[in-house]
Amino acid sequence: MDILFSTVKELIGLAEESGRPISEIMIEQEMQITKRSREDVIKQMERNLEVMEEAVEKGLKGVSSTSGLTGGDAVLIQNYIKSGKSLSGDLLLDAVSKAVATNEVNAAMGMICATPTAGAAGIVPGTLFAVKDKLNPTREQMINFLFTSGAFGFVVANNASISGAAGGCQAETGSAASMAAAAIVEMAGGTPQQSAEAFSIVMKNMLGLVCDPVAGLVEVPCVKRNAMGAAKALVGADMALAGVTSVIPTDEVIEAMHRIGRSMPSALRETAKGGLAATPTGKRLEAEIFGKKAAESVAD
């Protein structure tokens, strides 16, 4: 059960030495650790891709959560793109709308693929299905996009955290956006090192993001944090492809994220006791959804 890499430095080193993409290193490690065949591993990832595709499609048709807090924004953004008035660019907004679509389905207790968590599940598929229209990848390349995202997420999960309760939203949407940026770079033909730079550039801009869900629901602000996560992933990927590098090496950025997460008070780590959850509107919504008693306990 040999682990091939436990840091981004090792991952990039392996890819550069062998001249193979990051996705390939991830597939090889998966085969070694789980003793499964290549075919088996790829088949499971293809199933994940299908689930992501279905969630995006479903969300773009319009869904609503049981609480009524979220739903329908993906449709609004798509309609706006069609109006031809978009300022930030059609591809970027397409990614945003598809990220929102996925998270709206998630909030409605629909079927999604966690990447790396359910609350952050919109960013990787959102960006993937948006860049797909520009880069025209093969099915195999789309599956590889997920393996590359997974390789970076693997390092974050083992060296820092991917849990909002442990590390705040930076650990969830922060990880997802950085993972997506790295995968976009690979799909666009960038080098493994450029993937790492994209990861760092995005993660540095997600540091410190707290987890403060209103009423404890994975809805407000989670859906919009996925939207912005997708936007940052695309911009970060473009910056890295342009040749911009991160002064702080990727593994040190991940270590910083871990340290920041550990020093976050528990009120800002998915307990619905601080931040946006503790605003007057946040508390009012909680009372409306769960009744008065729940709101009082939040106010404590």
Binding site: I3, C113, A118, F290
Partner: protein, 220 residues
């Protein structure tokens, strides 16, 4: 390494809305069900930390009950698990604890029926992954790096040796092992982490050994 597979990161495929509070919770319930070996008649579920604060919004409660009904994370019946539980005669109660747990997402599940009961503490560590930290009063120190066998057995001479022999005969190497018992001659628990994949036939072989009452496996 707590996370071993790429599918811990890109996955699981699951019913929303939270990997730690819904999928991880369902997995804790399902491991309890697996270790109990049958569907319990009743369940008492204590929630701690973030689980206690936010379980309603995340469907943590329906997910744990779904797990106790043996549903996987992508089983859409999780949404209606309370109704399904009523239909199959599983009575359950949720208790929220204010005590600060070691891990923010902790659930303590006591389940039972006319033939026995069991208590398990599980933590949801993110991305849908979970760990069992306590079973029937035994503290488990599973590293989570390797597949683990949990063997409930009578505290009799030779049981540990017979299990070790069965594993050795199949070329399975023991990476880490812990044994414990409640009282001399009473129920005991062996926790064995191994380097190789455990097959179903190996589980059956160990289950058939003298004084072994139950064998479960914890793996991805």
């Amino acid at each position: 390494m707590k996370f071993r597979s790429v599918f811990d990161i890109i996955g699981p495929v699951m019913v929303g809305p939270s990997s730690s509070h819904t999928a991880g919770a369902a997995r804790i319930g399902r491991v309890a069900r697996t270790l109990f070996g049958r569907q319990p008649d009743w369940a008492e579920i204590r929630l701690y930390g973030s689980f206690a604060e936010t379980y309603k919004g995340h469907g943590t409660d329906v997910a744990i009950v779904g797990g106790l009904l043996d549903y996987d994370t992508d089983d859409e019946r999780i949404r209606t698990a309370f109704d399904e539980a009523e239909q199959v005669g599983l009575k359950f109660e949720f208790i929220t604890e204010s005590e600060e747990p070691e891990h923010p997402n902790t659930a303590k599940i006591r389940i039972g029926d006319a033939d026995g009961e069991m208590e398990l503490t599980g933590i949801s560590i993110g991305g849908g992954k979970m760990e069992v930290t306590e079973l029937n009063g035994f503290t488990l120190r599973l590293t989570g790096h390797y597949p683990a066998l949990l063997i409930v057995h009578h505290d009799r001479p030779g049981v540990i040796a017979s299990v070790a022999n069965a594993l050795a005969a199949d070329g399975i190497n023991i990476a880490h092992m812990e044994c414990g018992r409640k009282e001399k001659g009473e129920m005991a628990l062996m926790v064995i982490e191994v380097d190789q994949i455990i097959t179903d036939s190996m589980i059956r072989l160990i289950t058939d050994l003298d004084n072994v009452t139950q064998v479960s496996i914890l793996a991805d």
